[in-house]
Amino acid sequence: MAILNEEQEMLRDMAREWATNESPVAAFRKVRNEKPAEGYSTDAFATMAQMGWTGIVIPEEFGGSDFGWMSAGLVVEELGKTLTASPLVATTLAASVIVLGGSDEQKSMWLPKLASGEVVGTLAIDEGPRHGGKVTATVSSGKLTGTKAFVHEAHGATLFVVAAADGLYLVEKGEGVTMSDRKLTDQRSHAEVTFDGAAAERLADGGDDLLDKVLDRARILTSAEMLGMANQVFDVTLDYLKQRVQFNQVLASFQALQHRMADLFADLAMMRSAVESGLEALDGGYGIPRAACVAKAEANRALHAMSREGIQLHGGIGMTDEYDVGFYLKRARVLEASWGSSTYLKDRFANLAGY
């Protein structure tokens, strides 16, 4: 655990308490069964916004708290533990693009609404099922045309940050914007979004590498959600091993299982260090691209292993819908593939290191 300041400890405790009591996995299960149009409970999201979580990376002058990325990561980690369905990560990332690359006017227009939760934003970058493909969307005379694949939280979003060949644009939901569901195994909101001459405003102030900066933030904040998930699977699995009796003894007493848990525990330690270092890099403003690669690559590796072992160590009961552990496996793979698979991130890391 990183050394936190008092503010951060309070925020984490608040998030932990809320997630445990108000948004346990049962709440996600309810969303899955009831299928609200947005893909999440709007009441729950409104509460999160009231608690200030939607404004954590937004400057105070625009209605946020400017607590920073470590703080945002702490909240996202806690929500990841209970698989809380919400657009918090998506809207935080959308806000961060405007903070980085928006004009004064764009900031005044959007940031207060994103901070209050009135507007939900999301990133629409990739055009295929694998991250890192070519961006072909084009803009002419302020009208954006192109199709974005698997947009996270598209159903609840009213503001899209869209990558076009010549930069990033803001597009509001409305005329020229249509979407079709792409239901994935994690039962969260994903859609293909088609922009057909939709009104678009360029985010002109972020420099040429604005897209890379946003993706680094997406990688790091997503890895914070994955950290929460991996920790929860570990804890639940450990509890199960301590309760389940076979051959007249609890499974936890078998050395073959003890050593696998020790391996996973070590993986989790490395994952936490990598993720926290990514969040620290964002707050410190140094070494971000490499830290983002390390954070997401480690998150991918550790959560992949944890989610597989979680099922195996539960045995048959882990295969049932009644048990939660399978939900983590399904969400894990969606997040692993988002913003950079392990091979993509290793390639990027090697490029950054000059080999």
Partner: protein, 403 residues
């Protein structure tokens, strides 16, 4: 008051930095720049020339080789901030710490915690001055992973003990002056029958035989004790407390091994630089073999995560006060990754990376082979990886004993 204290602290730090600079200018011989005998504890007797000796004595008399140890026992008595300044300035000057070995890494911290005042005054100052080399009398032929099964026996003879038995894997035993050992004082209780005592290596009845290893080196010994007299004042803690004290010392050992230790230092060059030197590159400067490039990046990312974990453990242990059971996680990870790195290095170099001797191989190539072989020991000694897994499962995760 607080506002006054802060600038005063800053001023004294600045003054300390000046003091360090002046000391280095006066005492660090420029010809020793960047030399450092990092392997002193396993490689052999320190080959000490006049310059090295002067440098050791200069550092030792200040206690700066053991900067955070209490001044009254010969340590530096420095704060963490001052220690950082000392390290920064030494690094800038290319200076290295001539005080090291098991006395500094393992025995000293343990004695400071468990030793009597008399023992601390007797044994800590020579460690701080780098005058005495210690070795570890732990493992026995039938007490490896099952360390508490040790049989070396110390019989109570009133004012002294008489020790009989055999220790093995005694690192640097052939060059050591003294041995900190765990021995049995009670055969009826496996764990509580163990005591921690200090034995002179030149006492009558101590015999040392080096063991030649697969690396061609002989860093470990067999040590035989035949009717060796050990005065009662050399018992650390109480009789029967040896297992507790001995385990504490192992936490220090793990922390030291995990950093990659000797093997990592012998590895030298950065892995990707090595790859660029030995592998074919494409026009874009990338390693042409895409699979190898992926594996190198995969390793480097995990190595980075490990270093971050080691750093985090230090930060967190400051709050907890000293080494902790996370040392098992670090030992397990650090040794595994260091071995992996070694294997990858050899694979990158091909047969050129497997040279045993001769002019056809550079010094670093030959060193790499020895490091690769020697490194196999790291997941075995200091509590094997399997033992670390047991410790993590039982003490950290609360899983029950498998026995």
């Amino acid at each position: 008051m607080a506002t006054l204290a802060e600038p005063r602290e800053a001023t004294s730090d600045e003054a300390f930095r000046e003091e360090v600079r002046a000391f280095l200018a006066d005492h660090f011989p420029p010809e020793l720049k960047g030399k450092g005998n990092a392997l002193a504890s396993v490689e052999g007797p320190t080959k000490e020339g006049p310059a090295e000796k002067a440098w050791r004595e200069a550092m030792g008399s200040r206690g700066w080789g053991t900067p955070t140890w209490p001044k009254e026992y010969g340590g530096g008595g420095l704060s963490k901030a001052q220690t950082r300044i000392l390290q920064e300035e030494m690094a800038k000057a290319g200076a290295w710490n001539p005080i090291g070995g098991m006395g500094v890494m393992m025995f000293g911290p343990t004695l400071l915690e468990y030793g009597s005042e008399e023992q601390k005054h007797e044994h800590i100052p020579p460690i701080c001055r780098g005058e005495i080399r210690w070795c570890q009398g732990y493992s026995e032929p039938n007490a490896g992973s099952d360390l508490a099964n040790l049989q070396t026996f110390a019989e109570d003879k009133g004012d002294h003990y008489v020790v009989n038995g055999q220790k093995t894997w005694t690192s640097g035993g052939q060059w050591a002056d003294k041995c900190f050992a765990i021995v049995r004082t009670d055969r009826s209780d496996k764990h509580h029958g163990i005591s921690f005592m200090l034995i002179d290596m030149d006492a009558p009845g101590v015999e040392v035989r080096p063991i030649q290893m697969i690396s061609g080196m002989s860093p470990f010994c067999e040590t035989f004790f035949t009717d060796v007299k050990v005065p009662k004042k050399n018992l650390v803690g109480q009789e029967g407390q040896g297992w507790t004290i001995g385990k504490r010392l192992l936490q220090h050992e793990r922390t030291n091994i995990s950093g990659g230790g000797a093997a990592a230092r012998m590895m030298g060059a950065n892995l990707s630089d090595l790859a660029k030197k030995y592998l074919e590159l494409g026009d874009d400067g990338r390693i042409a073999d895409a699979v190898m490039r992926d594996r190198i990046a995969d390793f480097e990312i995990r190595w980075q995560a490990f270093l971050l974990t080691a750093k985090r453990a230090v930060e967190e242990s400051k709050a907890a006060g000293g080494v902790s059971e996370i040392s098992s996680v670090l030992k397990k990870l650090g040794t595994k990754l260091t071995q992996e790195r070694s294997e990858l290095t050899i694979e990158i170099m091909g047969l050129q990376g497997l040279g045993w001797e001769g002019d056809g191989f550079s010094e670093s190539e030959l060193g790499g082979v020895r490091a690769w072989l020697f490194g196999k020991a790291t997941t075995i000694y200091g509590g094997s990886t399997e033992i670390q897994n047991n410790i993590i499962a039982k003490r950290v995760l609360g899983m029950l004993d498998h026995q």
